[in-house]
Every structure is written in structure tokens, then in C-alpha cells.
């Protein structure tokens, strides 16, 4: 925390980050000073001893053992100091506290799959509470990746066949980059995500909506299974309104008027979609009357209510496979019977495994 007062060019959001910034800055200062000194001497010599006449004689200086010993020892001692300081930080990096909350992360080409202790799962994002130690258990399904969060000044390789671990103590609420730092193939630069550091209560709320068995998460599965996502997607070519943050908002209706998107309106829209159509959209939604049980309806509504900005999955995303399971093949569990019966006629082409991975590069 020596240099804590210096304004940062890039966000820093973890307690270890301050230590690492300190050592980087200290190394910069010491090496910078050494560089400036030696360069100054070098340039001074170049200027002072430039050849003034072709007849110049130079003294025969062969060296000096004393000087050699001095300038071997001094750098060595400085290096030792930095080495010892570095060990301290590295030790902290590798030893999470016992009470840390454990989150499992699996890298695969080319995405990060995150599993929380209560069963919440997410892809390419990591929601964590602020001011609480977070331990990451990391592995990879295929090749070597590296789970790096620059704002935490932290990274560690995801090595297949091993579980690596690291930890953070996030100190600032915010959204920061997750980068894959170890080259892993075509989609390496697309293997990025966001870490959301939230207040404890926001995290709990998020967690509730995403926990295994929670109404919202069950509803999410149905939302995908019933192919709602085919039209209510975040894609540019979507054929129906994006439902993020729609709950309790005013919805303008075709033919004038508006309605508050409360539980009953959402319910009505699923069962009798053509009754009140959102302004600006084609009335093409099929009715799900008789195809969704009341229990399921509650779950879907809970999911829609829980949607926040950016929560709607991309259209091609399917069920999460169980973490650690062999992927590719199990990725697409297309619910055949359901799809055939209940999916809208103009349903998009079946998702293929290839599509289900985020496209690499661009």
C-alpha cells in the first residue's frame, strides 16, 4: 500500500492488486533509476571522450577487480530484496484463506464455465460479492487456458487434468474483464468474459435467481426448451421483444394504449399471445395454451421477472452441460418430443454443436 495514493490508469479491484501494483511500481522506479544513471554516464562518456583529433592517445586501462566486485554485488543485493518481496506476494496468491467461498471454473475452447457453491452456473461471466475472499478452483476440459482478471492483478493457468487454485478479495464493486491469457486456438481472443463484483445483498438476490432448483433457473430451462429464445433473443434479427427488465414496465400496445407488464400480463401473453401485442412487433407468437403446465408457467414467469440487462442468453445457447462432463455431443440436448409438438412452426434451424460455441475471432 506504499503507493496507494497514486491514481491508477486501469481499475484495480482486489486487495492483492495493491501489493502487486506496489512491487511493479517499486521495480519500475529502481530499474528506471539504474537505467537513467547508466544511460547518463554512457552518453556523457560519448560526448566527453569524442575523438577530437586523429592523433589522440588513450590510456591503457585494463579494468579493476574492486570495481567489478562492487558492481556485481550491488545489483545482486537489490535483486535479492525484490526476490524476497516477490515470494511474499506469490505465497499469498497460492494460499486462499480457509473461509473463502469456493467457485469452480472450467475452461474449454472457447468459453469459461462457472459453477457457484449453491449450484448457480454461468458462462463467460462471474458474479461475486465484494469484500469476501473468493477461491477459484480451476481446470480445463481440453487444452491449456489461463483465467486472468487484470483488475484483480491475478491470473493462473487452467491445465487439463489438474485442479489449480487461486483466490481474490474483491474490494471494489464493478464490472471487469476476464481474459484467457494462454493461447488456446482459433477463438483464444474471444475467450473473454466479465466479472461482476456486487454488493453482498445484490449478490444474494442474483444468486437466488440463478440457484439450482430456484424458480427462475427452472424457468430459464423452460424458456430454452420451449424455444421462446428462438424469437425473444438478444440477436439483431430477433422477431419478438427482448424481455430483459420488462417486468413492471409500461408496454405500448398495437392499436394504442398501454399495459403494465405484471404477472398477469406476462401470463396472458404466453397463453393468449395475440390479445395484447407489443407495439412494433408482428403478431406471430403461437399460443402455449395447454402445452405448459401451471407449475411450469410460474417458473417461466419467475424467470422473465428476474431478467436484468444482458441476461437473455444468445439464441444459440442451449442447456448447460454438467460441469466437467464431456461436451460437444451432450451440449445439445434437443428436447425432441417437445420441440416437435410445441415449437412455433417457423422455428429456427436446429442448433448444431458448432453453433453452440461462441464464434472465434469475430
Amino acid at each position: 500500500m506504499i503507493f496507494a495514493q497514486i491514481p491508477l490508469p486501469t481499475p484495480r479491484a482486489s486487495s492483492q492488486g495493491a501489493e502487486i501494483d506496489d512491487i511493479i511500481l517499486a521495480t519500475t522506479l529502481v530499474t528506471g533509476l539504474a537505467f537513467v544513471l547508466v544511460t547518463a554516464v554512457l552518453i556523457t562518456f560519448c560526448f566527453l571522450y569524442r575523438r577530437r583529433s586523429e592523433d589522440e592517445r588513450t590510456p591503457r586501462i585494463l579494468g579493476s577487480t574492486v570495481i567489478e566486485i562492487i558492481w556485481t554485488t550491488i545489483p545482486f543485493l537489490i535483486f535479492i530484496a525484490f526476490f524476497v518481496w516477490g515470494i511474499k506476494i506469490f505465497q499469498v496468491h497460492l494460499t486462499p484463506p480457509d473461509d473463502a467461498m469456493e467457485i469452480n471454473v472450467v475452461g474449454k475452447q472457447w468459453m469459461w464455465k462457472v459453477q457457484h457453491p449453491e449450484g448457480e452456473r454461468e458462462i463467460n461471466s462471474l458474479h461475486i460479492p465484494v469484500n469476501r475472499a473468493i477461491k477459484i478452483n480451476l481446470t480445463s476440459e481440453d487444452v491449456i487456458h489461463d483465467f486472468g482478471i487484470p483488475a484483480f492483478r491475478n491470473k493462473i493457468d487452467a491445465v487439463p487434468g489438474r485442479t489449480m487454485s487461486t483466490w481474490y478479495y474483491p474490494t471494489e464493486v464493478g464490472v471487469y474483464h476476464i481474459f484467457c491469457d494462454q493461447y488456446c486456438g482459433q477463438g483464444h481472443s474471444a475467450m473473454v468474459g466479465k466479472v461482476y463484483v456486487m454488493e453482498q445483498k445484490d449478490y444474494e438476490e442474483w444468486s437466488k435467481a440463478h440457484a439450482e432448483g430456484s424458480l427462475a433457473l427452472e424457468g430459464r430451462k423452460l424458456f430454452l426448451k420451449l424455444q421462446c429464445i428462438s424469437c425473444h433473443s438478444n440477436n439483431s434479427g430477433a422477431r419478438a421483444p427482448v424481455l430483459e427488465e420488462i417486468y413492471k414496465k409500461r408496454v405500448p400496445l398495437q392499436g394504442g394504449g398501454e399495459v403494465i407488464a405484471d404477472d398477469s400480463y406476462i401470463r396472458e401473453s404466453i397463453l393468449y399471445p395475440l390479445k395484447k401485442v407489443h407495439e412494433g412487433w408482428q403478431p406471430i407468437m403461437p399460443s402455449f395454451l395447454g402445452q405448459v403446465s401451471e407449475d411450469d408457467l410460474v417458473k417461466v414467469i419467475a424467470y422473465i421477472k428476474s431478467l436484468r440487462r444482458g441476461d437473455i442468453p444468445v439464441r444459440t445457447e442451449q442447456f448447460y452441460p454438467p460441469i466437467g462432463a464431456p461436451t460437444q455431443r451432450t451440449e445439445v440436448q434437443s428436447p425432441k418430443t417437445n420441440t416437435e409438438n410445441s415449437a412455433p412452426k417457423e422455428s429456427v434451424p436446429k442448433n448444431t454443436p458448432k453453433e453452440s460455441a461462441p464464434k472465434g475471432g469475430k
Binding site: I24, E54, G63, I87, Q91, V143, D157
Partner: protein, 563 residues
């Protein structure tokens, strides 16, 4: 007689080089035989050196083109190229530059050409083996270029499995074969030079009278001999796993991916010193010559050279601090990495001290040499961030690393190579190049280089990872700056091609010793005769007696003076 002319004709090392300017009368190594056979079947170390120069230049231009594509892609955050193309480009750049340029360049060209001249021998110990090395290098190189042009490889030059052994659908096996072949060239050249230095030194050329360039190439050759076989084994293992599915590195086949990293870096870290030590050797020759001084602390420089060569073998694990090599290995490798920085620092101090009370001129080679010291210092000092277990956590695998090793490789090795090229060009070709253009290109290279790579240190600190075809928008400004710098750098690289070729036809005829240097190689005519020396030279003093006149040197030798 003015002292200047004494310097230009110093002849205190007993030997009978033809006096100027009758070099024309006796045939030199360039004009004593003609025809393609006289070149492609030559066993003259000087001609083989030129063969290396041609091929190394070719590979350099290919590597440069790939680098140009990389910098082009990074002009905008979403990337200008397909990710697939970008990945092939940075891989091609790394593989071509490392295996076909950085490693063979100075030992292949100047090592071949000047080691026999500097130790007072007629040729290398095994002239035919020497030619064979070049052919092996060309076969490996041609195979590599074929693999790169024919589909390419997208693993990066580090070839990490299981990506390379399982996942990559590109030419991994052919490139592995080409690296395997090229390795033999490296081993044989090393062997040749080690034997030459041990067995073929002229009378009086004791170990502690060897020019420091010879020491540097000798140390390099030892590293080549001892480490390259490990690379060969590694790529064979990789090829076997990829082609037959025998598990060595892939955990799905009971292998260990970190084992590959240990084996790969056991070669590739010493390889960094294969690249930089020869350049350091060149700098010793150039600095002493253009400041007319003895090197400060000859034995300190020799021992730091050997120290670097030795310590280079025991620091490979600093590439894997975060790859799961374990806590104690990380500790030890971090310590040793700091340790290896000491001899490099000692060298810089000795070079600086050499200039003290010198008589310094700034011919093109000297400008390159001073540039080398400054840029190499940045490269070396930024290495301390990465050998440190604390700061490496944040900087590992970011652009900081990219900038760091380019400062060592380009700011160090390439500038050292250009310093040597300009220093020895009159000896090799018998012609002087245009001094103004040479200085201009030196400055252009350094400016372009700094604009390219200084921003990358900062990018790395901000967190931009390596090998990204597309990146977060906030990194764009620095990337554009870096790409702009790289075009300046490219212009700087291309200029020598023109003025050096121009000098071959229109350059002033070079005297045998245009810089007034003391080395044995300058006691031969420019260009040297096919058999190097008319009479075996007898060496009576150390390599850098710039402050003595020939008479004084002779007198000192007779009195049994130091060195």
C-alpha cells in the same frame, strides 16, 4: 608519420599480410573461382558465411512480412484479419524468426566467416561438415517455409500441447520435422566452432588473448551442443503423440502437459542466450575499436559470458510460475533468474566503463553498438519484472512479455547483428558503404523500434493478453501507435538492403583495415585471400591493445607484459 596512419597500418602481430593497395593483384576469396559450383560446393568458411548471409536475410524478410500482418491486424479492436489468419501469422513470425533467423544469424554468418580469421586459422576444423550444416539448415528451413505457406501452423512458436498435439488442425507435424532438422545444423555448427577454438588457435593465441567475439561464439556453441538435442527429443515426442496417439503430454492420454513446457524451455531458454551472446560478442569488438580502448575488465567479460551460458541452463522454469510447476520450483527458478541477470548487468557496466577516456568516433557500427547497450538495458531490466514471482502474476502472458523479449531480441540481437554487419562489411566485401545512409537507417530502426515496443509495456500492464487477434477497445490507441512504429521500423530494416547492395558495385574500395582495428581479421586484405593468411600469425598480446603503438606493443610483449 602521424599516429593516425600508424593506427591504420598497425602490424604488430607478426604476419605478412600483403601491404595496401596490392590486394587487387592477388586473388581473394570472392574472385579466385567462379560458377555456381564454386559456391554451392565450396568448403571455404568465408563463402559458407556468405551463403548463410543470403539465406538468413531471406528468412528475415519472410518473418518480417508475417510481423507486418500481425501489426496490421491489431489496428482495430475487432481485428483486420480473420482470427485463423492472425494466429497463423504470429506463429509463422515466431517460428521463422526464432529458428531460422535469430539462432543461426550471427554464428552462421560472422561465426563462420570470422572465427578462423580471428584465431588465426585457415578454416574451421571441419570444412565439409560446415557446408553440410548449411545444407541441413536450408532443408529444414525450406521444409518449414513450405509447411507455413501450405496451410500454416497456428500453435505459436511454443507449440504447447495438448493444443498442438490434439486440437490444432494445422501443420504441426511438418513444422516439428523442420525444427528437428534445423536443430542438427545448429548442433554441427556448434561442434565445429568448439573444436576450432580448442584446436586451431594460432601460436600465442592463448585463451585469455581470444577476442571476446570468439569467446561469445564459443559459449554459444556450447549451449547449442548441449541444449539442442533436448529440443529434438521434445519435438519428436510431440510428433509421436500427434501422429500415433501415444500419450506423453496429453492428460487425456495419461500424459502431462507441463512436462512439455519443462522440456521445451530447457532448450528455448538457453536458446535466448544462443541469440543474445553472439550479439554481445560483436559489441565488444565494435566498442573497443571505435573508442580505441582496451575492454574494461576482459576477464570479467569472459566470465560473465560463461556465467550467462551456464546459468541460462538453470532458469527455464521461470516460464511456468503460473502453469502449475509447484511452489518450491517457482521459488528456485525465480532466484536463479535474478542470478542470471547479474552477469548481464556486469557486461553493461564494463561496456560503459570501456568508453571512459576513450577516443570515440560515431561511425555506423558504433551507433548501432551504443543503441544496443541502451535498448538491451531496457530489455534486461524489464526482465526483472518477470523473474519476480510477485509482479509476474500480473504481467505474465501479457504484452509486457512481448515487449520485454523484443527488446532483448531486436534491441539486442538484431542491433548487434547490424553492428557486426556494418563493422565487418568492408572486410567481407572489400567495399565501403555509404556512411550517411548507414547512420540514417540505424537511427530509423531505433526510433521505429521504440515506437513499436514501448507502448506494449504499458499495454501489458493494462492487461492486454498476448496472441489476441481482437482486443478490448480501450487498448486501441496504444496498438495503433505500435503498428505505426512498426512501419517506421520496417523502413529502417529495408534501407540497408539498398545501400549495402549499392556499395557492392559503387562503394569505395575498402582498405584492409578501414577502422584501424587490432583484430587478426584486419591483418588480412579486404576481402581476405582464399587461404586467409600467407603465413601463420604469431600472437604476442591481447586482442584490444588500442592504446599502444605497434612498437610499444612489441616492446611490452618482449618484456613479458600483461596479456
Amino acid at each position: 608519420m602521424s599516429l593516425a596512419s600508424v593506427y591504420l597500418n598497425r602490424d604488430y602481430i607478426t604476419q605478412s599480410a600483403p601491404a595496401e593497395p596490392n590486394a587487387k593483384a592477388s586473388p581473394n576469396y570472392l574472385n579466385h573461382a567462379y560458377g555456381w559450383q564454386s559456391w554451392l560446393l565450396t568448403i571455404d568458411h568465408k563463402r559458407i558465411g556468405l551463403l548463410y548471409m543470403l539465406s538468413v536475410t531471406g528468412f528475415f524478410l519472410i518473418g518480417m512480412a508475417a510481423a507486418g500482418m500481425v501489426r496490421y491486424d491489431l489496428l482495430k479492436p475487432s481485428g483486420m484479419l480473420e482470427a485463423d489468419i492472425y494466429n497463423r501469422m504470429f506463429s509463422a513470425h515466431g517460428i521463422v524468426m526464432t529458428f531460422f533467423f535469430l539462432i543461426p544469424a550471427i554464428p552462421g554468418i560472422f561465426g563462420n566467416f570470422f572465427i578462423p580469421l580471428m584465431v588465426g586459422a585457415r578454416d574451421l576444423a571441419f570444412p565439409k561438415l560446415n557446408l553440410a550444416s548449411w545444407y541441413i539448415y536450408m532443408i529444414g528451413g525450406a521444409f518449414g517455409i513450405w509447411a507455413i505457406l501450405n496451410g500454416g501452423i497456428d500453435t505459436g512458436w511454443t507449440l504447447y500441447p495438448p493444443y498442438s498435439s490434439k486440437s490444432a488442425a494445422t501443420n504441426v507435424a511438418p513444422v516439428a520435422v523442420s525444427i528437428f532438422i534445423t536443430g542438427f545444423s545448429s548442433i554441427l555448427t556448434g561442434l565445429n566452432i568448439v573444436v576450432t577454438v580448442h584446436r586451431m588457435r594460432a601460436p600465442g593465441m592463448t585463451w585469455m588473448r581470444l577476442p571476446l567475439f570468439v569467446w561469445a561464439i564459443y559459449a554459444t556453441s556450447l549451449i547449442q551442443l548441449l541444449s539442442t538435442p533436448v529440443l529434438a527429443v521434445t519435438v519428436v515426442f510431440l510428433g509421436v503423440e500427434r501422429l500415433t496417439g501415444v500419450g506423453i503430454f496429453d492428460p487425456a492420454l495419461q500424459g502431462d502437459p507441463v512436462l512439455f513446457q519443462h522440456m521445451f524451455w530447457f532448450y528455448s531458454h538457453p536458446a535466448v542466450y544462443i541469440m543474445i551472446l553472439p550479439a554481445m560478442g560483436v559489441i565488444n569488438e565494435v566498442l573497443t575499436c571505435f573508442s580505441r580502448k582496451n575492454i574494461f575488465g576482459y576477464s570479467a567479460v569472459v566470465f560473465s559470458t560463461l556465467g550467462i551460458a551456464f546459468a541460462g541452463f538453470i532458469v527455464w522454469g521461470h516460464h511456468m510460475f503460473l502453469a502449475g510447476e509447484g511452489y518450491y520450483p517457482a521459488l528456485i527458478f525465480s532466484f536463479l533468474s535474478f542470478f542470471v541477470a547479474v552477469p548481464s548487468a556486469v557486461k553493461v557496466f564494463n561496456w560503459t566503463a570501456t568508453l571512459y577516456k576513450g577516443s570515440i568516433t560515431f561511425s555506423a557500427p558504433m551507433i548501432y553498438a551504443v543503441g544496443f547497450i541502451i535498448l538491451f538495458m531496457i530489455g534486461g531490466l524489464t526482465g526483472l519484472f518477470l523473474s519476480n514471482l510477485g509482479s509476474d502474476i500480473h504481467l505474465h502472458d501479457t504484452y509486457f512479455v512481448v515487449a520485454h523479449f523484443h527488446y532483448v531480441m531486436v534491441g539486442g540481437m538484431v542491433l548487434g547483428y547490424f553492428a557486426g554487419l556494418h563493422y565487418w562489411w568492408p572486410k567481407i566485401t572489400g567495399r565501403m558503404y555509404n556512411e550517411w545512409w548507414a547512420k540514417f537507417s540505424a537511427i530509423t530502426i531505433m526510433v521505429g523500434f521504440s515506437f513499436t515496443f514501448l507502448p506494449q509495456f504499458y499495454l501489458g500492464y493494462l492487461g492486454m493478453p498476448r496472441r489476441y487477434a481482437s482486443y478490448a477497445p480501450e487498448f486501441q490507441d496504444l496498438n495503433v501507435l505500435s503498428s505505426a512504429g512498426s512501419t517506421v521500423l520496417a523502413v529502417g530494416y529495408i534501407m540497408p538492403l539498398f545501400y549495402l547492395i549499392h556499395s557492392l558495385f559503387f562503394g569505395k574500395i575498402a582498405t584492409s583495415n578501414p577502422w584501424g582495428a587490432t583484430g587478426l581479421e584486419w591483418q588480412t586484405p579486404s576481402p581476405p585471400s582464399p587461404h586467409n593468411f600467407d603465413k601463420t600469425p604469431i600472437v604476442t598480446c591481447g586482442p584490444y591493445e588500442y592504446s599502444l603503438t605497434p612498437e610499444e606493443a612489441k616492446a611490452m610483449a618482449q618484456a613479458g607484459g600483461k596479456h
